[in-house]
Symmetry: C2
């Protein structure tokens, strides 16, 4: 019997989940829930239903895991605890500073309902967190570095688009090679914000807009750009669509640390991702954790979990025997 | 109260465990067991006892986790099941093909005694296995690559040393850059043994030995060298000791895979290690899993486990709250 998956929210992430479910033969997508009019939504999976979110409760016994594909700013803080009362849920809540509060809210709801809620699943938080944690446990005497990119930052792209005179824009976050190399060599450098990443913007101007003024406004924007070396390119709308319509991303988690009686030996652990599609990769991680949520719930577990709390084998469709024989 | 650690076998790995325990304030080394005469063995930890292995049973209630530091060929297949009857144990059994049998033997012993036995801990098997497994669960449609090195292969060094006329030798396994790059670019190449790694030998000859004959014998040695491009350098004993006395190693686990409704997007997940000391790093992984063994046993679990079966948080000295606040 397949694991029956529901999706709440059909943006880039929701579509990514739909694709990922299709790649996992032990799962099937049964319903997509939306805040839009269901009849206006066209999905790719033929057999799945499209329903208004207000109907979700009626699916309580027809869905094994509901995957929440809303945003972290306003959707998930509210949705995840609410839906954890009815379903096993997985979300990709990524506001790092608010994770403890979110965990506590989801934990209370899921314990009450006897469901499992897995939060902050994806690559950062998610796979990057896991790799930070493993590396810290192995090398207690060391230093962590996380670099992001090269990739599109949605938040920074939005910030540029809000500037007067900007018609459209994409922003790439790029790790600085020299900083990466120093870290990889075990030099344990102290790096400023400016030394770790550069930012590159591709901007389409409104007709008659002042390019110099827009460039100045981008480069001096507090929080988003002022602490970085930023390059701004003005291009046509056609060029933007042709060359910058993807959503690539990636990054590096590196820990260097020392061992030995006199700490005489140095080690470098590196995990990196190079992703054509940020939402599809995030969705692929989420779907593996949905399998874990299903299994944990069947074992009678309940409450909120993160990637730290879940044994790796729960993510795989393979049995323990198969895993030991083929991947250990 | 500290986690009380015992070590069985005081070679490079045993000494590495001793160093790693010192770096973890929640642990203490209480005893080292040896097959040699205990009075002939000098260890670094002042407060720990040195005992003959035959006395180990008397330490049954004074040790929380016994770390088995013998070899995979003959020591561990026998020792791990035997000591799992008395102690929670961790080993680094690394004969991949025999893991299923070893698992089954340790599982039976540990279930009978109510202890936890964690096998095949280190970096390969170990951290490399974990990364293969996570990457396979996330990207079901993809291809795995493992590269080793640059590092010293003990088995290959031994094989060279057995050749007549060779006084001493060190062999390095080196991944081929072009192959690594092709994999990183998502090209999914089919690679022969020769295309993945080269081998480099540093050889000290006995007086009067025939260098050309030794070189020929190395390069044509079945299983060990014949399928590789091998370089042989003849050096003095002084040079070998000065430049090649370390035990560095490392490697790369890479999975590239595709997502999207039409599999239109490509992703590359890479995990790599660069290690000054292979045994000290292996020991550092083992000690983190010793913490897990201790905790699992306290929860009442028993039987054989691998890295696949253990939730990451069990490895860390930090609480769930701390982990979520600092590393997620």
């Amino acid at each position: 019997m397949s694991i029956r998956i529901g999706i709440l929210g059909y943006g880039n992430l929701g579509r990514g989940v739909e694709c990922a479910v299709r790649q996992n033969p032990d799962m099937e997508l049964v319903a997509v829930f939306t805040r839009r009019k269901p009849e206006d939504l066209s999905i790719m999976t033929e057999k799945a239903a499209v329903c208004h979110v207000d109907e979700a409760a009626a699916w309580k016994d027809k869905i094994d895991v509901l995957i929440l594909c809303g945003g972290s700013a306003t959707d998930l803080p509210e949705q995840t605890p609410v839906f954890a009362k009815l379903f096993n849920v997985v979300d990709s809540f990524d506001t790092h500073a608010k994770i403890p509060q979110h965990f506590s809210n989801v934990d209370a709801a899921a314990k009450e309902s006897g469901k499992v809620g897995i939060i902050s699943v994806g690559w950062d938080p998610g796979m990057f967190s896991l790799n930070r944690m493993y590396a810290n446990a192995i090398l207690p005497d060391g230093k962590d570095y996380t670099f992001w990119g090269k990739g599109v930052s949605q938040g920074h792209s939005d910030a540029v688009r809000r500037i007067e005179g900007v018609k459209n824009a994409k922003q790439y976050t790029i790790p600085v090679d020299a900083a990466l190399e120093a870290v990889r060599n075990g030099e344990n450098p102290e790096l400023t914000t400016r030394q770790k990443h550069t930012r590159e913007c591709f901007v389409v101007l409104e007709e008659g807009a002042d390019a110099a003024k827009v460039e100045e406004e981008i480069k001096t924007m507090p929080n988003y750009f002022v602490d970085y070396d930023t390059t701004v390119h003005f291009i046509s709308e056609e060029e933007l669509l042709r060359d910058h319509s993807g959503i690539p991303h990636g990054g590096f988690v590196i820990r260097s640390g020392r061992t030995g009686w006199e700490k005489e030996n140095s080690h470098v652990i590196e995990y990196s991702l190079k992703l054509d599609s940020n939402p599809e990769f995030t969705a692929s991680v989420i779907v593996a954790y949905a399998r874990a949520a299903y299994r944990l719930a069947r074992e009678g577990q309940s409450g909120c979990k993160t990637v730290f709390d879940i044994a790796p084998a729960y993510l795989s469709a393979k049995s323990g025997e198969e895993l030991r024989a083929t991947l250990l």
